[in-house]
């Protein structure tokens, strides 16, 4: 199936695909350049955007060529390491799935880079930002283009690292540094899962190539497949911020908004889903693990929605929403090959929509200077363009007919219903919840009174915008450009993908997908749409009448328990703190105490004991000759008797 052969008709494709490592190397080089060499602004912007742009262009060319039906290609660069009998190589795989992801990553990356030209025009460290952006693109492309688990792991850790560097971008902010550390540590601990899975694969089947694993894992036995499945799920949960490992993503909002748009909404968090999708053969062999994926997906779907519905900061609400949408992804991936196709659909559309939403929010927060919902409101008149962009994303994500979200979610709901009806029903409810929190967000941000003009306090509680010396920013051409492109894609993307995606992904997932019509509506769709309508209208009416309690900064005791738990982000942080961090700190303190008190003092005590013994022994040197003689005689007597006894025995 996947071979690297020279086809006569696609000679140029082979040539281009054979050099696909340029996709990764070019932004990497640009990143090194930006991070190590000083340059003027004009160069900076061209180089910064160009680095990503070149990758995107290359990916587009490859994609267009692949549309002409050439075979997927594996490009083997060199042998990285032989471990036992297995050989791990640095090789890249260009197939239907990876090229889609490459397009997503590079495309959104380019748009975000263009946006950042305007957004960060007043940021003194913008050179570092563009360098990190390019580094991220290189790492993420390595992740999606890798042909085996080890190389994927390298990319996986690398994106975690860049995420850490970007979350803590403003290093003077203690909050940001903390958030960065939490994100990195949580991700790395969960990466134990991926590492263990790799180890198991290497010991049990002796290969880590995706294709080979698919073929050979069946021979080994189901229980190992289950172990690998669960281990991979652990890693994916952290990376995609599934419940209960979601708290790092919410704190990650300290990073500059363009970074959030790229990393924490569209691409890196999708890596978890990508891993599960690539490992689909493993999950087909391990029903328990697949069930776990489904359950985690549903749990996150609702958990994320819960948090989003009670969120107090616009960026955090979007982050919770990301978590929830990725729950959809997991749900779909756990449904099998058909679900996997639609998981990709969801991934692509969600990436575009969320990026657009984040960029809109970025314009908004910089204009106003704060991001807490309490301090926003009435922005329709101030930022009409942004409102339109946001509204496009909003409509797309809640599932208005013919827009992206409608197709993505509709297919997932239908597939879920066919596989396990309960999950289908839950998915429908999820749509309703999604509509609620997104409408709430829209209303609180853009409609109502302009609270941001009344109360200047509360800016410290905002994410990211609290960085010092940042003046309000008017929108610029670059920012608008990216926003426009993303909004249009959000609107029309679903239409474009719907008919074509299942067929395109056929070789990858071998899924039989039936419904592909654009105007295809069945009863599930009607039910969903009905629910949607009811929820939206109801929310609008509700927020017209009622002002949220927490606007008045009253004590939290007044709130309903549901709201309190959601607002506290399901107490995940506290649970982690109490359950994991505190015990480990205690042990660590104990160990340090042992070190300083027990061992140090023990060693000193030993020293002193030796000294005192030595002083005692000195008493033997009495200077008295006759004592010495006595000792001689006694010693000799002992020796002689010992010898005699020895000889006798």
């Amino acid at each position: 199936m996947y071979t690297s052969m020279l086809l006569m008709e696609s000679g140029s494709f082979t040539l281009l695909a054979g050099n696909c490592w340029v996709l990764i190397a070019f932004p990497l080089l640009v990143a090194a350049l930006l991070l190590l060499v000083r340059m003027s602004d004009s160069w900076l912007y061209s180089v910064g955007v160009g680095g990503v742009g070149v990758s995107f262009g290359y990916a587009v060319v490859l994609f267009i060529m692949m549309l002409g039906e050439p075979e997927p290609i594996t490009v083997q660069l060199y042998t990285w390491l032989s471990i036992g009998d297995a050989e791990v190589t640095v090789s890249l795989l260009i197939d239907q799935l990876s090229i889609l992801f490459a397009l997503l990553v590079a495309g959104i990356g380019t748009l975000v880079a263009i946006y950042s030209v305007g957004y960060l025009s007043d940021e003194p460290e913008r050179r570092r930002f563009f360098g990190l952006l390019n580094l991220f693109i290189a790492a993420m492309l390595l992740l999606v283009l890798a042909d085996n688990y080890v190389l994927l792991f390298v990319g996986w850790e690398a994106v975690g690292l860049v995420s850490y560097l970007l979350i803590g971008f403003w290093q003077e902010k203690e909050v940001a540094a903390n958030a960065a550390k939490k994100a990195f540590v949580m991700n790395r601990v969960a990466d134990l899962g991926l590492l263990s899975a790799i180890a198991v694969l290497l010991t049990q089947i002796g290969t880590v190539r995706f294709t080979a694993v698919a073929e050979q894992l069946g021979a080994v036995g189901g229980s190992w497949a289950g172990v690998v499945g669960f281990a991979l799920l652990l890693a994916a949960c952290a990376k995609s911020a599934q419940v209960p490992l979601q708290s790092w993503l919410l704190d990650a909002m300290e990073s500059p908004t363009p970074a959030s748009a790229l990393i924490h909404s569209a691409t890196m968090v999708a890596a978890g889903g990508y891993l599960i999708l690539r490992s689909l053969p493993i999950y087909m062999l391990a029903p328990t693990a697949r069930l776990a994926v489904l359950l985690i997906g549903v749990l996150t779907l609702f958990g994320g929605a819960w948090m989003a519905a009670t969120g107090r900061d616009i960026k955090r609400v979007l982050a919770c929403s990301t978590t929830s949408q990725l729950g959809y992804l997991m749900l779909a991936a756990g449904l099998g090959p058909v679900g996997a196709v639609f998981a990709v659909f969801q991934l692509l559309t969600h990436g575009v929509i969320k990026a657009g939403l984040f960029l809109a929010v970025g314009t908004l927060t910089r204009r106003v200077g704060r991001s807490d919902l309490q301090g926003l409101g009435g922005l329709v008149k101030v930022l009409p363009y942004t409102f339109v962009a946001f509204a496009c994303g909003y409509l797309a994500t809640i599932g208005v007919p013919f827009l992206s979200g409608f197709y993505a979610k509709g297919h997932i709901i239908a597939t879920a219903w066919e596989t396990i009806p309960a999950f289908g029903a839950l998915a429908v409810v999820g749509v309703g919840l999604g509509a609620f929190y997104m409408t709430r967000l829209l209303l609180l941000t853009f409609t109502g009174t302009a609270r941001w003009q009344e109360a200047p306090i509360g800016a410290e509680t905002s994410t990211e915008t609290g960085a010092e010396n940042r003046q309000p920013l008017r929108g610029s051409v670059s920012m608008r450009f990216s926003l426009t492109v993303l909004s249009l894609l959000a609107l029309g993307g679903g239409l474009a993908l719907n008919g074509w995606l299942p067929g395109w992904l056929q070789p990858v997932f071998a899924a039989e997908v039936s419904r592909t019509g654009l105007l295809y509506f069945d009863w599930l769709n009607y039910v969903t749409l009905g629910l949607l309508f009811v929820v939206v209208v109801g929310t609008v009416i509700y927020y017209r009448k009622v002002t949220p309690i927490w606007f008045k900064a009253a004590s939290t005791a007044d709130e309903v328990a549901l709201v309190r738990i959601g607002a506290a982000e399901l107490y995940a942080d506290d649970a982690l703190q109490r359950g994991v961090v505190a015990p480990l700190s205690t042990v660590s303190a104990r160990v340090s105490w042992t070190e300083s008190e027990v061992l140090e003092n023990g060693a000193r005590h030993l020293w002193r004991v030796i000294g005192r013994t030595s002083i005692l022994m000195r008493r033997l040197q009495s200077g008295n000759v006759r004592t010495y003689v006595l000792l001689f005689v006694a010693g000799t007597a002992v020796l002689v008797s010992a010898m005699l006894l020895w000889a006798w025995v």
């Binding site: 000195r618 008493r619 040197q621 009495s622 200077g623 008295n624 000759v625 006759r626 003689v629 006595l630 005689v633």
Partner: protein, 99 residues
């Protein structure tokens, strides 16, 4: 004559010498005790040499006599020097070399 007689004499001489060294305080008398012990060992060596009809024991005895003579020379020199500084032959008085 039987071996044991000579050995008993040798043992008795050795014990007398040992007692002298342990119990007397006069340096010269201790020296005499040491000489007694050496000669007791000599006697035992010659006895065994005769018993095995080999010369090894007598050779060892000659060695011992040479060593004894050397040791007496050096030892007496030391005792005389100490006597000159302390005017006493009591061994307990020469205790400067202590901790």
């Amino acid at each position: 004559m039987s071996l044991s007689a000579y050995l008993i004499v040798s043992a008795v001489l050795f014990c007398i010498g040992l007692a002298g060294v342990l119990l007397r305080r006069n340096a010269l008398v201790m020296f005499m005790g040491i000489e007694l012990m050496l000669n007791a060992a000599n006697l035992a060596l010659v006895t065994f040499s005769e018993a095995h009809a080999e010369l090894d024991g007598q050779v060892a005895a000659v060695f011992t006599m040479v060593v004894a003579a050397t040791e007496v020379v050096v030892g007496l020199a030391i005792i005389i020097t100490i006597f000159r500084s302390k005017a006493s032959l009591n061994v307990d008085d020469a205790r400067r070399l202590r901790h």
